[in-house]
């Protein structure tokens, strides 16, 4: 078996993904967990790139690392306990591990025979070069076409816009507690507007 550069890169990205994923759930500081999550998402982006899906890798970086992870960090910084190191008080982790391992074994037992079926007889085969030929030259244009082709994803694409609009309304509604409180005269307005995140809840 010859070790190609792909193997090295694959091992690195796998270790980054798995290691940081483990740290996300075990580390005690919530803020650090969010940072490790970003690293984990980056590792996944690398794996996408190895799977000859550069577009997905780009989306992963732009949306997940660039926006969603930032949002999670913002959410953590909104909480009053942001500076406190939080003890992970999940007493059910042994059960969780058992379930996770069982699920992993189940998936693995199904997927590994599939490898033989697809002709991947050598697990260490150079998996990128042959598969690369099967991938369209530009996944970007292919993706663009599939978004508007009638027999592909034009309907989900339009439904997605409706969904995004619903989310937009939700974002405006949820994140403007002042607007709701102002309308509800029975509730006194929050005294400190700069930390109005939880004053709504303390109203009763």
């Amino acid at each position: 078996m010859d070790i190609t550069i792909q193997h090295g890169v694959f091992v690195i990205f796998t270790l980054v993904t798995l290691g940081s994923a483990l740290l996300v759930v075990t580390v005690r500081n919530l803020f650090h967990a969010a940072l490790y999550l970003m690293l984990c998402l980056f590792g996944v982006a690398g794996l996408f790139a190895l799977l000859t899906a550069p577009l997905l890798a780009g989306f992963q970086v732009v949306i997940y690392i660039g926006a969603i992870a930032i949002l999670i960090i913002f959410a953590i910084m909104l909480t009053p306990q942001v500076t406190r190191v939080i003890k992970t008080t999940n007493a059910q982790w042994p059960v969780a591990i058992v379930v996770a391992v069982l699920f992993f074994v189940m998936i693995l037992s199904v997927v590994s025979p599939l490898m033989d079926e697809l002709g991947v007889d050598d697990w260490n085969a150079d998996f990128t070069q042959e598969d690369a030929d099967r991938v369209p030259d530009s996944t970007l244009t292919d993706f663009g076409e599939s978004l508007v082709s009638r027999d592909r994803f034009v309907l989900p694409f339009e439904i997605a816009s409706i969904m995004l609009m619903a989310a937009l309304i939700g974002a405006v509604l949820v994140v403007s507690p002042d607007a709701i409180l102002r309308r509800d005269e029975s509730q006194p307005p929050p005294s400190d507007t700069s930390v109005s995140a939880d004053t709504g809840a303390s109203g009763d």
């Binding site: 189940m106 998936i107 037992s109 199904v110 997927v111 025979p113 599939l114 079926e117 076409e145 082709s149 009638r150 027999d151 994803f153 034009v154 309907l155 989900p156 439904i159 997605a160 409706i162 969904m163 609009m165 619903a166 989310a167 309304i169 939700g170 509604l173 949820v174 507690p177 709701i180 409180l181 309308r183 509800d184 005269e185 029975s186 509730q187 709504g200 809840a201 109203g203 009763d204």
Partner: protein, 504 residues
């Protein structure tokens, strides 16, 4: 080179009922911006108008007066516009209409009157309709999100109140988790069949059944994971944990709507995926579908747990939450029946009849809870029904009717629903599950009739606020419940036309 499709290729006309609702919702959102805060009833009326137009179109289509578009597929099979779609549309829209009616005064007296409420409610309805019409797993997923996201927000609509916020948070976190399972399932099904289109899956299943075991297991796990995701939405038992907390904390008007709407969407998608997409997915030749055992087992667990835990509940909203879990079990029984050869259509009809009956009954029951609930969301205990028969005889009579219907007493809609569900299950030889269903129905009589007992035989002040839109909603629900119970032929004759596009 890209080939530009023509309008008739797309067959957009077939999507008219749901598209008109989406367009109406966009207009409603813009119109609401110019409706002053003290005149929000205008928004509610506009929402009713939007729903009414869509309902009229769906009824025209269901009653076979006109079919929109040609053929029952649009967007090359992405959207299925068959009679089942029409039936789901009608149920979803009727529920939404009742939901708007019960909400109006409730929002006003709890100080949460905002136009966005109606907009989000209409969006959810569009999500339900898309789920019923899904011809592709990607559409199932996007529609599920369209159904869920507004519901998360609506659960937390009573913002300053902690219980409402908590329920929104719980619903959101668990719902997002369940969506993850759904996507995982879709990915595995794609891995097994090489497609996400339900019709293509239907074709591919034949090869898989004839082929090797690996793809079969991949498909089986994929279907199982989708069952997890959709089972969460319909509150089936291992995935029911959120239901009581969310139903108790969320505004009652939202619960009245979502207890029915989320179920309609979830069951419609389950039928599309399991009964239409892979009814002939068998591991041994001649056996029922591979997923049937799992589904009826889940159904049995759901019926048992829902009905048994409901007995000890002392809060009306919690009690009705467990009752709604139990009813998910009965509908799942019909879904399980679809796994036997040739029963897909019959079970789809049973689900439609059951959900129609459940829509009237359950929205009605929650409307009565809205009537007795105080402005600060208190007074929803079972004891708040005390003395209602004396102070509000009509309200008590309606509530008694809803309780009897939920139990499944003859001459109510609930009986008709259960009859058809059990009939489908017996045709599929699911005798054990049917026995469990019958026994748990008997058990459920205890806690439903306890409410009737409180209303008629115990002393209490029985205070209730019944503004006219709420009274109208309760009346419609009561008339519907009674009407379907006494004259079920109208509904069942219509339901007999229902076929899943490529089922059987």
């Amino acid at each position: 080179m890209f080939e530009v499709p023509s309008l008739s290729d797309l067959n957009i006309a077939a999507t008219l009922p749901v598209m008109s609702l989406v367009l109406g919702t966009c207009i409603l959102l813009l119109a609401d911006l110019f409706v002053p805060q003290e005149r929000k009833q205008l928004t509610a009326w506009l929402a009713v108008a939007g729903l009414g137009v869509s309902l009229a179109l769906s009824l025209l289509s269901l009653g076979d007066v006109t079919r929109f578009g040609d053929g029952d597929e649009a967007f090359a099979g992405m959207f299925v516009a068959d009679t089942f779609t029409d039936a789901v549309n009608v149920i979803a829209l009727v529920t939404a209409l009742l939901g708007v009616m019960v909400a109006y005064n409730y929002l006003e007296r709890t100080g949460t009157q905002r136009g966005e409420y109606y907009v989000l409610l209409l969006f959810t309805t569009a999500g339900v309709m898309f789920m019923g019409a899904a011809g592709d797993l990607v559409v199932v997923f996007v529609a599920l999100e369209l159904l869920s996201i507004p519901l998360y927000i609506l659960s937390g609509f009573r913002r300053p109140q902690e219980a409402s916020e908590e329920s929104a948070m719980k619903y959101f976190l668990l719902g997002a988790f369940a969506s993850g399972f759904l996507v995982y399932g879709i990915a595995l099904i794609y891995g097994a069949t090489g497609t996400t289109g339900l019709h293509d899956i239907w074709i591919a299943v034949d090869d898989i059944v004839a082929g090797d075991a690996t793809s079969q297991y991949l498909l089986l796990i994929g279907a199982g994971l989708m069952l997890v995701g959709l089972g969460f939405k319909v509150a089936a038992v291992p995935f029911h944990m959120w239901t009581p907390d969310v139903y108790q904390g969320a505004p009652t008007s939202v619960v009245a709507y979502m207890s029915v709407a989320a179920k309609v969407g979830g069951f419609a998608a389950l039928l599309r995926v399991l009964a239409a997409g892979m009814p002939h997915f068998v591991l041994d030749a001649g056996a029922p579908a591979a997923w049937q055992d799992t589904v009826w087992l889940v159904a049995v667990l759901t019926m048992l747990l829902g009905n048994l835990v409901a007995i000890v509940q002392n809060d009306l909203k919690r009690l009705l939450a467990y009752s709604s879990i139990a009813h998910a079990g009965y509908v799942l029984l019909a879904v399980a029946a679809a796994g036997s050869a040739g029963l897909a259509d019959e079970s789809a009809q049973a689900v439609v009849i059951y959900m129609m009956a459940y829509a009237f009954t359950n929205v009605g029951a929650f409307s009565v809870v809205i009537a007795v609930e105080k402005d600060d969301a208190s007074n929803t205990g079972v004891t708040s029904m005390r003395g209602l028969a004396r102070s509000q005889p009509w309200l008590a009579a309606a509530m008694a009717l809803f309780m009897l219907s939920l139990t499944g007493i003859p001459l109510t809609a609930g009986f008709v629903g259960k009859w058809f569900v059990f009939k489908a299950a017996i045709s599929a030889d699911l005798f054990f599950a049917v026995v469990v269903g019958a026994v748990t129905s008997l058990i459920s009589a205890y806690y439903y009739l306890r409410i009737v007992w409180y209303m008629y035989f115990e002393e209490g002040d029985g205070e209730a606020v019944i503004p006219w839109p709420l009274a109208a909603a309760i009346s419609i629900a009561a008339v519907g419940t009674l009407f379907l119970g006494v004259m079920p032929y109208l509904l069942t004759d219509m339901a007999r036309e229902i076929t899943l596009a490529f089922g059987g």
